[in-house]
């Protein structure tokens, strides 16, 4: 499909990192779920790993501008959102799939994605084509006109991914996107991730270490709201020894890093 490339798209970016957090603190209720986190993310697919309660979802919500950080600095797409930047401009470049994905049951998939594309301030003329493309990319084209209450869990998840990618976001945040997808759909999804990660910053939160090993170029490991380790997926695989828990090299690397971190904290 041919489309006009706008000046804004070809303009060189003026920010070194799509996501830049310095000493970031975010509260979940009263609990400080993200505590003095330093993180930089550029173009590529980043896997966000961590045990339950590590602060993955809270970090995602802060990056998606749902919650405001309580302290520290957070710069998204070159705008300091903790210092009263233009949130609207940042949000136009965001795509977000929440962990608990609410939807309107009586809407069809197409209506839902269209409505969110409108809320994302996409020009009216490009919405129908962009919606169709997003729905095709997640493999839901045959169910595009079914009501959302008739969809299975995996299909809903894919509808959620469709709304997240409909505006070709510069920063795509996916919280547990592979929950409910069958193996074949997971392969397709990884393919989609690699495709999007070529020119945007994708952060995928998951606790499936295998997803990270295959689809991610870069791994971010957090625990207790702090950054434990950041590096490539291959480097993660090399961290583990033979006596670490796990069935694959990546899993062993994951458990070795976590164990070392816990040792440092308690020492």
């Amino acid at each position: 499909m041919m489309r006009t490339v706008s000046v804004a798209e070809t303009r060189p970016s003026t920010h070194p990192w799509a996501v830049h957090a310095e000493k970031l603190q975010v509260k979940a209720g009263r609990h400080l779920a993200v505590n003095e986190l330093d993180l930089t993310l550029g173009t590529g697919v980043h896997g966000l790993l961590g045990p339950n309660g590590a602060g993955k979802t809270t970090l995602m919500r802060a990056l998606a501008t749902v919650v405001k950080p309580s302290a520290g600095r957070l710069t998204l797409l070159g705008e300091d959102v903790t210092a009263g930047a233009d949130l609207r401009r940042v949000r136009r470049g965001l795509g977000y799939l929440p962990q608990h994905f609410g939807f309107y049951p009586r809407f069809t998939v197409r209506e839902f994605v269209e409505y969110l594309a409108w809320l994302k301030e996409m020009p009216k003329t490009v919405i129908p084509a962009a919606v169709q493309r997003a729905i095709e990319r997640v493999g839901l084209a045959d169910r595009a006109d079914s009501r959302m209450k008739t969809l299975s869990g995996g299909m809903l998840r894919r509808a959620g991914i469709a709304q997240a990618i409909v505006n070709d976001p510069e920063v795509l945040l996916l919280d547990e996107p592979t929950v409910g997808l069958d193996p074949e759909q997971r392969f397709d999804f990884r393919e989609l991730l690699r495709d999007i990660g070529l020119d945007s910053c994708v952060l995928v939160s998951t606790h499936l270490v295998e997803d990270v090993a295959v689809a991610c170029t870069d791994v971010v490991l957090i625990n207790d709201g702090r950054l434990v380790w950041q590096g490539s997926a291959d480097e993660l695989a090399q961290q583990g020894g033979t006596d670490d828990a796990g069935d694959s090299a990546t899993e062993r690397g994951y458990s070795a890093l976590l164990r070392a971190h816990r040792g440092r904290v308690s020492a």
Partner: protein, 265 residues
């Protein structure tokens, strides 16, 4: 328009362009795009196998178009999440007004229930347009660039466009002056939005509705007469209140746009 290529060049081009250089092929191609005569020459020059293939493809596509599903009709009014969740509340407000009319027609001795309820009739749907609890996709819609005062005003306007005709029918049916039901309703709507910049629109609207019911509706039903604020002499007061509250809303929203987006959602 360039000069037409010779039939010999066209037939070379049709046979794959092995004996002509690239520049000539491009020139022929560019010319063919704009010249129907030369395209006719070209279709005569291709070999029968290719022509048969093209015919088959054309026939196949025509059959596919006639047999396949038609283009999806686009809805004139796109469905929005807010319309879906506000509809029941609009219906409730309309039902309430209807009940008030019936009540007033039945018990003529009591003070006008239509006038007593009209000010708070838009508040239920206004609370619903910006309520976090009523929006299942709140977590998503909270991250959208289209938010803040323009969206709030748009939705409120939508509610008023639906509720005011209902009020008009009720007011006309019971024979009250339009100012007495319209101005208080607008005043309360502006009040809910202005107070909403502090505590959230849904809470503000509910608080105002409860305060009005407890402070004015209940006492005047007990007394058996309309309160002074719902008589003709208080109309300038209502107009002034509405204007002042709207100004407060605009000033607050402009000064702290981020605050507005957060408390409204």
């Amino acid at each position: 328009m360039t000069t037409h290529p010779t039939p010999a060049v066209i037939s070379h081009y049709a046979s794959g362009g092995a004996d002509v250089d690239d520049a000539t092929v491009w020139a022929v191609e560019a010319h063919l795009e704009v010249c129907a005569e030369c395209r006719a020459l070209l279709s005569g020059a291709v070999d029968p196998g290719t022509r048969e293939l093209l015919d088959r493809v054309a026939a196949g596509i025509t059959a596919g178009i006639t047999a396949g599903p038609g283009p999806v009709r686009r809805r004139r009014l796109p469905r929005t999440g807010v319309a879906a969740r506000v509809l029941p509340w609009l219906a409730t407000a309309a039902g309430l007004m209807l009940a008030a009319v019936l009540f007033e027609k039945t018990f003529a001795s009591l003070p006008s229930l239509v006038l007593l309820i009209a000010p708070v009739a838009p508040l239920l749907p206004v609370a619903a347009v910006w309520s976090r609890r009523l929006d299942p996709a709140w977590e998503l819609t909270a991250t959208m660039p289209r938010t803040g005062l323009p969206l709030l005003m748009r939705r409120t306007l939508g509610v008023l466009i639906t509720v005011v005709p209902v009020l008009a029918v009720a007011g006309w049916g019971t024979g009250h002056s339009p100012g007495l039901w319209l101005l208080p309703a607008l005043g309360f709507t502006a009040g809910a939005l202005a107070l909403g910049t502090l505590v959230g629109v849904d809470r503000a609207a509910l608080a105002l509705a409860v305060a009005w019911s407890a402070g004015v509706v209940a006492p005047s039903l007990a007394d058996g007469q309309l309160p002074i604020v719902l008589t003709g002499s208080s109309l300038p007061g209502w107009a002034l209140t509405t204007v002042v509250l709207t100004a407060v809303l605009l000033v607050r929203a402009r000064r702290r746009p981020r605050h507005l987006t957060r408390t409204f959602r």
